[in-house]
Structure formats: C-alpha cells, structure tokens
Point group: C2
Chain length 324, copies 2
C-alpha cells in the first residue's frame, strides 16, 4: 500500500522480505532474504532516496545500517514493552500498572519482545513475586474501548493527526476500526502523540494505541509505522497514512488529514467474493495477494460514510468468506 | 492507472506495449512488441480473465484476436471519423456539418483515421469540391465550450455516468478539465451516451466528447476507453473511471459515480517539482514515469474542492515546471 501510494508521486520501490512470494514483488523489485543480511541491506539501500519499514520487528541494527526513517529510537521502544512503558511514563503519558504496581489478578504476563497480534501473552493468576526474565506483568485494564491515534511528523517537525479511531479486536487480532471514534478525547490524545513524536524526533507515520477508561486515556503501545487501524485513510482521508508517510520521510510537505466517516473491516483468514463486497454501496475492497491461512490478514474493506444499512450489507457479503 | 486501481481488487496485470520503457512495466509483466504481433497477442491473453486497451489506435484485428472488451464495434467507430459521425447521426445525436453540408469556410479537413491530440488536421479555405480520399471535411463549430461525458456500462447493461466535465484544450492537447461543468445539460448528454452504449452493446468506460453551442450539444468524437478528462475521478468520485472500467469488463457490480468538485490539470512536456505541488491544499500529484518530450503528457494534478485561491496556488506551483 505504500508503493501504491508512491507510484503516482513518481517513486519506484525496492523491497526486502524473507518471503519469496511477498505481494510487494508485484509492484517493485523484491530482494528475498533475511532482514539482517548486510549484503542485502546494502543492495536495498543502494541509491534509495529513503529507506523505511512497515513491520516493527525489523532488527534495530538493520534499520540503522540503511539509515531507515523513522530512526532507531522509536523502533527500539516498540520492540520492548518495558522500554516503551518507561518512555510513556517519562513523557507523562499514563499507562496500565506494571510489575510490582499490579494490584488486581489475574494479570497479563507479556514477553517484552516480539509480541504481535496478541501472541506472547498469558494470564498470571498472581500474586507477583518478582520479575520473570524477559517479561513484563501488566494489570488488565477494564477499558471502555480501544482507540488509536494516527499521527505523522515531517522532517521539519510539522505534525498532523487523523481523527481518533475506535478499534475492535478478536482473538488479539484487529477486526474493525471506526473513524472517527465518537465523542473521543482527541485533544488529549494529540497532546500525548505530540510529546512522543517530538521526544523521538520522529519522522513518518506513528500509531499510538490507547485504552479509554472512564474518559481517561492509557497508552498501550506505539507502532513506528503505518498501521492497520489507519488503512481506512486511503478512501476516508484527504491524504492517506501511506502517502503522508512517504511525504514525511522524503521531506515533502504533509497532506491534509481531513477525514470523513469510515469503517475498516479486516479480512482475516478468509476472503469474500469480490462481487459480493463490490455490490455494497460505499465499500472499497483491498486484497493483499496473500495465501489464505488461519488468522492471517488477507485484505480489508473500507466502508465510507457507513450507515447501519451499509454495515449490514457488508456483513452479509462477508458471511460467505472462505479461503480463496 | 488501470493497474493501480486493480491491484487492490486482487488483480494482476500483463501489458503489451511497443515501448520497452513503458511505465506499466513497473507494476506488471511487460511484453514489448507490436500491437498486431499474433504470438505476442496470444501471450498477452493467455489465462487472462479479461483483455482491454487504453489507446484507441490498437488495430481492430488485434483486439478481436484477444477478445478485448470493449468489443470491436466501438473501436472501429472511434478509428474512423466518418464511421463515427454516421453512427452518431443514426442514433439521432447531432454533430457538426460534414463534407457537402459544410456552409462556412475555412473548414477543417481531418484525416478519417489515426488522428490524435489535434494531429492530422488542416484548414481548408474552401469551397468543398468533392471528397478528399481518406479525409472528412468538418465545419468549424463556434462552440461555447467543450464538454465530455464519462460513462460506464456493465456486462448486464447497467449504465452509470459521472458528471459532465468542461475541457480546455491548448494546441489540440487537453490542458484542463473541470468537474462538474457548471449548468451543463447532463440529462441530454446522458441520453446520447445511453443510446451509444446500448447500440454498441458496450462494456467498460466510454468517453463522449461534445461541443456545447447555445445550450445545444453536438457530438465530436467518442473514445472507447478510460479518458484523460476522467482522471480526476481517482480522487473526485466515489469510484474512479479506472476501477469501474475493470469492474465492468470483469462482470463485477459497478461502483457509485457520486462526485465532488475537482479540477484536473495536465502536465504537458514538463513536470513541476513535487514539493511545490504537494504544498497546495487539495492537490494530488500523478506522474506517469515517462521521459519528458515537448507535447507529451507526463502526468496530471487533481485539485479537489478547487477554490480560486487553490487554483492560483497550483498555477504558481506549475510555473516552474521544466523537463525532469
């Protein structure tokens, strides 16, 4: 989706991916190999105006070798839940209670590193008796809802935000995002987002995942990249997160984040028939060209100007989804 | 632009183009060779769900060999100005006076075939003394403005129209298109468009170029393909002409043509600096990856929700355009 946004800007793309069938190979040069292979990294970066990533488990050393934007600080924080929590707290951004602060059990014992889509988490019935190496214990938050803030910061420090998004997860995987989240604390979220972006000297799109609890926001995690909960911006915003990420890392002026209501619905494990989705007024289909696999995100549908009727029609269209 | 619209639908693309540096090669398999090479045509069509064209001087025989959609009738009419005029007239669609009907001189002597961007035309001071082989004489129309109607018809005969567009040509090349054309005779244009589409049993996007003279419409020519004056639909319409063309030829449901105001500005011969264009609120840049050449369309900018201020800002940004 980054490349699809960048080709009209006159850009061309080269990708590094361990998977030989990575869909990006359809729209650019694909280098197949490990993210930390120095020779491949050098080939990737050779002559490039900018190098970026859209997966936060890229090794920090690899990102540094190619001079990737956004720079390493955000990547490091996003790869370690404890470093991340400490960053939030240093900036006065509230988080859930962790480790010895935890009062309510069962609590969630999370691996500090390499968690993704709910993986690497288990419940600890407690009580806490000292740190488990490589893990952080988090108190479960009885949140009212999950929100995410999509933000972009340019090389000159200019910062823009899209409207807060309300997210619904299922089995730890994002199922749907609704923008804008109704009656959401936009100003507070932007204040937290701005602190993060400025502290990190960040360039590019960043997503901040938040819990809303009684009108108060707790930061859950940050993603130093374009984010699934922002895919609706392709049709729903004046400038998509993909185009603004490219504009930012290339030092181009940022585009407007003015938005209209949109509902994003992920296609997980199975894909619907195209004709069924395209018959739904306001529905835009995005398939990623990936092989079906349980739990895998195969694509998404964005419903612009969603109405209850359109949403019902979309759910009907998705009801016959199967591996295809 | 067809491929960029189709990749999110899960489609992949193969192209046939005589130019080895055709930009389409960036986003699909490029077969380099003549449009009428039977072996290459067979390779092009091998396993394809549909074959189409976006250049109306493709040989009719080539289109037939690969079973291209839209089918040959519209292509034949668009390749011969006399056949085209006769088709319009048979359907009760008014045109300029031709050949022995011409009353006012100088009139325009046009080649019947292979005219493009104003090429193949010259003034005849008259009077008409009989047909010039391979040419048609057209009376010059003192039109109030040039309009085009973008239409799409599905395999099931369903037809949709985008709002009429007002076009400005310079040296025979489209310079800008404004949608919607203000106070335009939409109903009359759609009636003519519908007659054409139904008569031809057309499937796909078709553009009908019209002159408006004292509130009356004269058909000038038809283009059996996505059309430059419809490029604004990428950002300006709920469904772009490119996506609806693909939907039509693949037998998928057509998407809404609901539109918002947009101004399309072609980049001819030279291209502006990206940073200058992207600083203009509402501007969307589309570069085609072509080598600069005088008179060549290198890209376009779409300005959504244009205001006099935005238009002035865009023209300033374009003022420093040069070959790049």
């Amino acid at each position: 989706m980054l490349a699809l946004a960048g080709i009209p800007l006159g850009l061309s793309f080269r990708f590094l991916d361990p998977a030989p069938d990575a869909p990006a190979g359809e729209i650019g040069e694909l280098i197949v190999g490990a993210y930390d292979d120095p020779a491949l990294l050098d080939r990737l970066a050779d002559g490039a105006a900018a190098v970026t990533y859209e997966f936060e488990n890229v090794p920090v050393g690899a990102a540094q070798r190619v001079g990737a934007v956004p720079a390493a600080a955000a990547l490091e924080a996003s790869q370690d839940r404890l470093v991340e929590k400490r960053l939030f707290r240093r900036l006065g951004i509230p988080t859930a209670r962790i480790d010895d602060e935890v009062e309510a059990f069962p609590a969630i014992l999370k691996t500090r590193r390499l968690g993704y889509d709910g993986k690497g988490q288990r419940l600890l019935s407690g009580p806490w008796t000292g740190a488990v190496p490589g893990h952080v214990l988090e108190e479960r938050v009885a949140f009212d809802r999950e929100l995410s803030l999509l933000a972009v910061r340019g090389r000159n420090g200019e910062t823009r935000f899209w409207p807060l998004v309300e997210n619904v997860h299922e089995d730890g995987i994002l199922r749907s995002s609704r923008a804008p989240a109704l009656d959401a604390p936009q100003a507070a979220a932007e204040e937290y987002g701005r602190r993060l972006l400025d502290q990190l000297g960040y360039v590019g799109v960043l997503a901040l995942e938040l819990f809303e609890v009684g009108g108060r926001l707790l930061a859950n995690e940050l993603a130093p990249r374009v984010h699934n909960s922002g895919h609706w911006t392709i049709e729903g915003a004046a400038t998509s997160q993909f185009e603004n990420h490219l504009r930012a890392i290339l030092g181009l002026p940022l585009g407007s984040t003015a938005s209209r209501p949109a509902l994003l619905r992920n296609l997980i494990g199975t894909a619907p028939a195209a004709h069924a989705v395209l018959a739904v007024p306001g529905a835009h289909l995005h398939l990623y060209g990936k092989q079906p696999r349980p739990g895998r995100k195969l694509g998404h549908v964005t419903l612009v100007e969603p109405t209850p009727e359109r949403e019902r029609a979309l759910e009907s269209a998705l009801a016959d989804a199967r591996p295809r």
